[in-house]
């Protein structure tokens, strides 16, 4: 493996006696777009500020390109941060904002002009040099902030929820822009967000954080398909988490017991005993009345809620035998009625098992992030926010 661009070694941080980060070690590769993802209060922003040099970790080291920079103040670090709100200097125009870092570094005037023009071209704001920040839209301001950071060619670009203050529509456009800028610059990005959809759309790798710890590190696909914990399963995408018992395991197979029901699934090396079954809603198949064309393995249930979502239906189905509910996303134009008995089944290779304590019967309540914007949590297909007026779509 090549040398990491950023290496975090055993970072622990306390505010007073309250630990907000616990023993975090992480390598970030050059040109990688890494996302720190977690609910608010999980410590992701603190970790970013430690890399930027605004906080000094209580314990541990920060290395950039092999050099220990733990004790360097922010203004001496090869990092630049894009803040959550666009923090443009109100007394300066766009050019002076973008040129700020170059001027502080005493770069010659000719080079300043060249590099500012280059940076503004990168964020597609050519010709905006003389604008003031109050003449820009929110999205434009955040682009200027991005150009102002990138113009310094930082070893690492840090982004602290840079899109969260923007309207959903502009946010989605900016995601496309960020991916393009990342491709074109080949810079290393560390991106903080609480929005799992955004994280999956942008990242090369995700770091799922919970209560000051790293829960899982992996590509979006890995984290989505093979979550390391019930927390990761529920925070990244929608998930059904059901208590099961693994009765047998071997030969790439496992036999599960759900309530009084048994089911064989494709699964490598499952540990026998109690487990959580993680089932993504889109892997759940819903068929008509029980027994009609369901396989012997399918589970009986009753539709408790149904919503049409364009690409198909989303259901909430009560499993009569299990005292549990299952969310399902189906495709197609015909659906099932509320209170209609159905049977559910799933692709036998689409499930994931996690260890469960003997006593646990209900999964821990989903984190706050889960309920904030239920609509856009389902892999980005549905992008409507109920509480904001819809903008006119044009071109």
């Amino acid at each position: 493996m090549t040398e990491p661009r950023v290496r975090l070694e055993g970072i622990t941080h306390r505010f007073g006696s309250e630990p907000v980060l616990r023993d975090i070690s992480l390598d970030i590769a050059p040109s990688e777009l890494l996302t720190l993802l977690g609910p608010s209060g999980c410590g992701k922003t603190t970790l970013l500020r430690i890399i930027a040099g605004f906080e000094r970790p209580s314990e541990g080291r920060v290395l950039i390109d092999g050099e220990d920079i733990t004790s360097l103040p922010a203004n001496k670090r090869p990092t630049n941060l894009v803040f959550q709100r666009p923090t443009l200097f109100p007394h300066l125009d766009v050019f002076a904002n973008v040129a700020f870092g170059l001027q502080v570094a005493r770069v010659g005037r000719g080079e300043q002009r060249e590099r500012v023009a280059e940076a503004l071209a990168l964020v597609r704001l050519e010709g905006y040099e003389r604008r003031r920040s109050h003449e820009l839209s929110g999205g434009q301001m955040q682009r200027v902030a991005l150009a102002r950071a990138l113009v310094n060619r930082p070893a690492v670009l840090l982004l602290d929820e840079p899109l969260s203050a923007l309207d959903l529509k502009i946010r989605l456009e900016m995601e496309v822009e960020l991916r393009r800028v990342h491709r074109e610059t080949g810079a290393t990005f560390v991106y903080v967000t609480h929005d799992q959809r955004e994280a999956m759309a942008l990242s090369d790798r995700l770091v799922v954080m919970d209560a000051g710890r790293v829960d899982q590190v992996g590509t979006p696909t890995e984290v989505y398909r093979c979550p390391a914990s019930v927390f990761a399963a529920q925070f990244v995408g929608n998930a059904n988490v059901l208590p099961v018992e693994v009765l047998e395991s071997g030969n790439g197979d496992a036999v599960l017991r759900l309530g009084s029901h048994t089911r064989r699934i494709d699964y490598q090396d499952a540990a026998t005993g109690p487990a959580w079954l993680v089932l993504r809603p889109e892997a759940v198949r819903v068929t008509g009345a029980f027994g009609a064309n369901g396989t012997p393995d399918s589970l009986p249930g009753v539709v408790r809620d149904a919503a049409y979502r364009g690409t198909g239906f989303s259901y909430r189905i009560e499993l009569s035998e299990l005292d549990a509910h299952v969310k399902a996303e189906t495709r197609g134009a015909t659906g099932h009625e509320v209170d209609q008995p159905v049977s559910i089944d799933w692709d036998s290779d689409a499930c994931w098992l996690l260890p469960r304590g003997e006593e646990e019967t209900a999964p821990p309540a989903p984190t706050a992030g889960e309920d904030l914007r239920p609509a856009d949590r389902d892999r980005g297909e549905e992008i409507e926010e109920p509480d904001r007026p819809k903008e006119e779509t044009k071109g």
């Binding site: 922010a74 666009p86 502080v104 929110g138 301001m141 309207d167």
Partner: protein, 282 residues
């Protein structure tokens, strides 16, 4: 209009109050243009002779010069020290920040008499001879809390993220202050310094204790009033009034201008107020 009906008594009280407040001022102003030395009605015609007298008097001129020297030094010193104190305290993370800040502006509650006596005792104790320097020091003590309060409020209103941004872009502490903090607050600071100037320029009580052999304008007015009521006093007072009001107007305008600048921007920075055509990104 369904509010309570205004009673004629309320109106009468309002008028009486306004007359009480403004009549003496207007009388001084009016009689400063009186053509005779009489300070009572009937008014016998306009003239600017008292103003001519004021401008030609060497004593008054030197008193006015002293006042200008003291007020200017006080304002400049306050601007420098008060800005440093307010900046340091608003950016400090020390636990003493609150109590210290209180110590800085609490002297605002001290009676002038007390400050005057205390300083006089202190100066004589250390055998510091009384002069315009002691007056300047005394005025600094007096106006500092006013300046500090205004400066602290202005600095606290600034978005700390802007200073962090500048530091992140490589700026040292000093560069951040010079290139980001100061450009945003200087109008308020200069306005507050004008206020300090005005307060110092017509300060009397404290000055009385620590002045020594020199004279300032308020001291001159007081001493000449002790002998006789000279109508030129009206002219001096009117000039003082006009000058002080001018300073307050400048202070006010600077503050309003700075506030409007800040507000206009923060309104535009509110990302929920996105107006105008969106930039196309297809």
């Amino acid at each position: 209009m369904t509010g309570t009906r205004r009673s004629p008594i309320t109106g009468a009280f309002t008028v009486a109050g306004l007359v009480f407040l403004w009549a003496p001022l207007l009388l001084v102003f009016l009689f400063s243009f009186h053509s005779t030395g009489s300070l009572t009605f009937p008014f016998e015609g306009f003239s600017t002779r008292w103003y001519d007298e004021v401008f030609s008097s060497g004593v008054i001129r030197s008193a006015a010069e002293n006042s200008l020297i003291v007020a200017t030094s006080t304002a400049l010193l306050t601007l420098l020290l008060g800005t440093l104190a307010a900046y340091g305290l608003t950016r400090s993370s020390s636990r003493l920040r609150g109590p210290l800040s209180l110590l800085f502006f609490l002297p605002i509650t001290l009676p002038g008499l007390f400050v005057g006596v205390a300083l006089l005792v202190a100066f004589t104790r250390v055998e510091f001879s009384l002069s315009l320097l002691t007056v300047t020091i005394a005025h600094l003590v007096y106006v500092f809390p006013f300046f500090f309060l205004v400066a602290r409020a202005a600095l606290e209103r600034l978005d700390p993220a802007l200073e962090e941004t500048a530091a992140d872009l490589g700026a040292s502490r000093w560069t951040v202050f010079r290139r980001v903090t100061l450009p945003q607050v200087w109008p308020v600071l200069v306005g507050a310094a004008c206020l300090a100037f005005a307060l110092s320029f017509d300060e009397f009580v404290i000055t009385f204790f620590v002045i020594g052999p020199d004279s300032t304008l308020p001291m001159y007015i007081w001493s000449s009033l002790r002998r006789t009521i000279d109508p030129s006093i009206n002219a001096i007072s009117s000039l003082l009034l006009a000058f002080t009001m001018l300073l307050f107007v400048v202070t006010f305008l600077l503050t309003v201008w700075s506030e409007r600048r800040r507000r206009g921007r923060s309104l535009a920075e509110d990302p929920l107020v996105l107006t105008g055509p969106r930039e196309g990104t297809a």
